[in-house]
Amino acid sequence: MTTTAPPPTSTPAPRTAADTWQRKTARIVADYAMPLLVLFVLVLASVTTDGFADGANLRAILISTAITGIAAVGMTAITLTGNLFSLGIGSTVVLCGIVFLAVAGATGSVLVGVLVAVGASLLLGLAQALIVGAGLNPVITTLAFGAIVYGCVAVGTGGEVVTAGSVPVTRLATASVLGLPLPVIIFIAMTALVSFLTARTVTGRRMRLLGENRATAGTSGISAMKGTVVAFASLSVGAALAGILSAAQLRQMQANDLPNLTLDVIAAVLVGGAAINGGEASAVRTALGALLIVILGNVMLLQGLAPGERLFGVGAVVVVLVVLLHLLRKAGAR
């Protein structure tokens, strides 16, 4: 299901220039490209790769996707509102994980840890939103914040591994519902929720319109500041959850953790087919994008490829995919 593009109707179009079947097909393919592609890869992988279709392997894929996926779904809102992406998400996730562990450890309460981490993340997001909403460049702003947050975390922890002591934080990561561990459930729930909220709420609609055309939003009384604040709030929640779950999973976190996360998250959003200029991004497709990258890596792993080869393969697929999605969207819009 895509959330942004309503299905094309079959009524002929009298006034518009001919809506050719090629264009229509291109549009449908573009809209449903991600689910189709994931399905295709799943089938192909199951047929060609031993052990891929195993329940345990599929579950492992979901677990591997969860943390990146949660952060990426949060980031989708940033891209949707036309604010490109956050280059500081990696350090925010680590900060949240560390705050969560430290607070949970100090207070003995997992809940308090979660709340404080989410709160800290939201504050950080708000500060950035106010700057970006005032018209400053989001890439520079988030890059700067990322560097500052990383520096502060490194100084603050002095390089120590932070743990929650004996507080049972792992429950957050191991508790399982329907045979799936909580991070996966949260990933799915967050995807569904963000997807629903962007499609069905006033706020979500305004965010999409803001990203679609900032100038029209301006003349229509849609505030860029509000949209940006909400988008950063979504990013912050995603980052906080990713950090908390990642920290809970391993009961520990340190400043240098998750060095590749920012890039993975951006790749997921882009492979999910989000329009880089805003107005077109869906949580579901981002989630599928994150999933697709992990699936590809997994298949190559099962095929016995070396890590370098896997990286190369993922890179090649990302390039081909983003170009393909771009061409499809252009064909559909023309």
Binding site: T9, A13, R15, T16, A17, R200, R205, L209, N213
Partner: protein
């Protein structure tokens, strides 16, 4: 100029369509060596389109082009330049972040591969002097220039090129009289050097001063060129506006109510004098003027897009403070801009989402959009404005210009504003859709709105409005009930002001 002069350029059978809309149909155009050919026609007649075809910015659908006896194909700006054509475009021409000197030589094929800034600046000074900009430092960035200086710079740029055919598309719209004189001199000088000049303008005075012949465009069609010596101002105006209007325009206001919009001493950047203004419920006020006349600035100030630096604004008798567009909307002022693609529509969103964008909260509960009511309300609205109600899920970007415009205006109906401001309501809209648009606006006025329509199409202003005001040079110049204007007067007032003032 003798008729024996050989043809420099001849274009035949030129057709250009945008989607279903024909901007040019089977147009013929010719140009002799050493002549100044004026190109006249109302807004949207297709003048800029033929200019763009000649300059390689758009490609014609059909037609042949001959220059000095040779058939040429123009596929892009480079091939146009290679054919010896240089253009002062109506829009898109100087790069704001670059200096004057750099802009002068930008994209010039004859420019040296490696240039020395000193020489560049010196050469720039020479060229700038030819348009009277001798005091302008060539190292200034274009973004720091006034509109007039930018326009003169563009003309200077063309002078820097050694072209056989030079096209000016409304070069003087933003200039003052003294500057205009310089442009005219430059054009004449170029012609006397044996070059051919195409001069597109809305100022008739200029035509009589420099043109040898004129070609008049009307509704995307051309008529054979005429010798200027055989014409007078009234004759030209008659040929420009002589189209059959039929009952394109709805009847005027039956009853005007109390004052809905009142501005006192309103002052905004771009004005050259404060403005007082009153519009009544049910009234359509049409304002018209050339580029830079102040109409756009007035509308934007009223819409609270442009900061107001002085004066007060009253809606329904209550004074309102307009800090930003949102406050304007809250105060009941709807606004639909001249450039709908830029800031009027959400091209990638559906008709439904466009229509409901200003009044989403009316069809939502607790922040959630109720899709049923939204669908019903948009359907009703679309029906009122003759937008195909079966296609509400279609992206607006794929609609025709007319339908896009209906969406851009119609969406405001949902917030029941006191005041509706519309710029260029029918720009790029075909004749059939025009009638729909006029009916729409009239219906909105009848429902009790006060409407301000700003348009550079004098015919439209006259046909649609109850009251018409003209602007010139940053200030209003005349305001009368529409019935007291003739189109002839209006065209003269707007286009030919210098004669009246002289």
């Amino acid at each position: 100029m003798s008729t024996a002069t050989p043809l420099r350029l001849s274009a035949e059978g030129i057709t250009k369509t945008y989607g279903a809309f024909a901007a040019l149909s089977d147009v013929a155009f010719e140009l002799r060596a050493g002549e100044v050919m004026a190109l006249l026609g109302e807004n949207g007649a297709g003048k800029s389109t033929i200019v763009k075809i000649l300059s390689g910015l758009v490609t014609a659908d059909t037609g042949t082009l001959t220059i000095d006896g040779e058939t040429v194909t123009i596929t892009g700006v480079a091939s146009s330049q290679a054919a010896g054509i240089a253009v002062v475009q109506q829009e898109y021409s100087t790069v704001r972040t670059m200096t004057v000197a750099e802009n002068l030589f930008l994209g010039q094929r004859s420019a040296p591969w490696l240039w020395r800034p000193g020489r560049l600046v010196a050469r720039s000074r020479e060229i700038l002097a030819r348009v009277g900009l001798q005091d302008l430092d060539p190292r200034t960035r274009v973004e720091e220039l006034s509109v007039a200086e930018m326009q003169l710079l563009e003309i200077a740029r063309v002078l820097a090129r050694d072209a056989r055919i030079i096209i000016f598309d409304e070069p003087t719209a933003a200039l003052s009289d003294a500057e205009i004189v310089r442009v005219l001199e430059a054009a004449r000088r170029l012609a006397s050097e044996g070059r051919s000049i195409v001069y597109v303008t809305h100022r008739l005075g200029e035509v009589f001063e420099i043109a040898d012949r004129v070609t008049i465009f009307r509704n995307g069609r051309s008529s054979p060129p005429l010798e200027v010596a055989d014409l007078d101002v009234d004759g030209v105006v008659a040929r420009m506006i002589g189209r059959e209007l039929g009952d394109l325009y709805p009847p005027r206001s039956s009853s005007m109510g109390e004052v809905a919009l009142e501005a006192r001493g309103l002052l905004a950047p771009g004005f050259r004098a404060p403005v007082d203004l009153q519009v009544r419920r049910g009234e359509i006020l049409g304002i018209t003027g050339q580029l830079g006349s102040g109409t756009a600035e007035l509308v934007e100030a009223l819409a609270s897009i442009r900061p107001v630096i002085d004066g007060s604004l009253h809606i329904g008798g209550r004074q309102v403070q307009l800090r930003n567009r949102r406050a304007g909307i809250a105060a009941g002022i709807a606004y639909c801009s001249a450039d709908r693609k830029r800031d009027g529509i959400f091209a990638g969103a559906s008709i439904r989402q466009n229509l409901s964008s200003p009044w989403l909260s009316a069809v939502s509960r607790a922040g959630f959009i109720r899709t049923g009511p939204e669908a019903d309300a948009t359907k009703t609205l679309a029906g009122e404005f003759a937008v195909d109600t079966n296609r509400l899920g279609t992206k607006v970007g794929s609609l025709s210009g007319g339908n896009q415009q209906k969406v851009a205006v119609g969406k405001w109906s949902g917030i029941h504003p006191d005041v509706l401001l519309v710029e260029e309501p029918t720009r790029g809209v075909d004749v059939g859709a025009r009638a729909d648009m006029y009916a729409t606006l009239r219906a909105l006025a009848e429902s009790g709105m006060a409407i301000v329509v700003s348009s550079s199409d004098t015919n439209e202003v006259l046909g649609l409005s109850d009251t018409v005001a003209t602007f010139y040079h940053g200030r209003p110049t005349a305001v009368r009930p529409a019935t007291e204007w003739t189109e002839h007067d209006l065209v003269r007032e707007v286009m030919h002001r210098e004669e009246i003032l002289a």
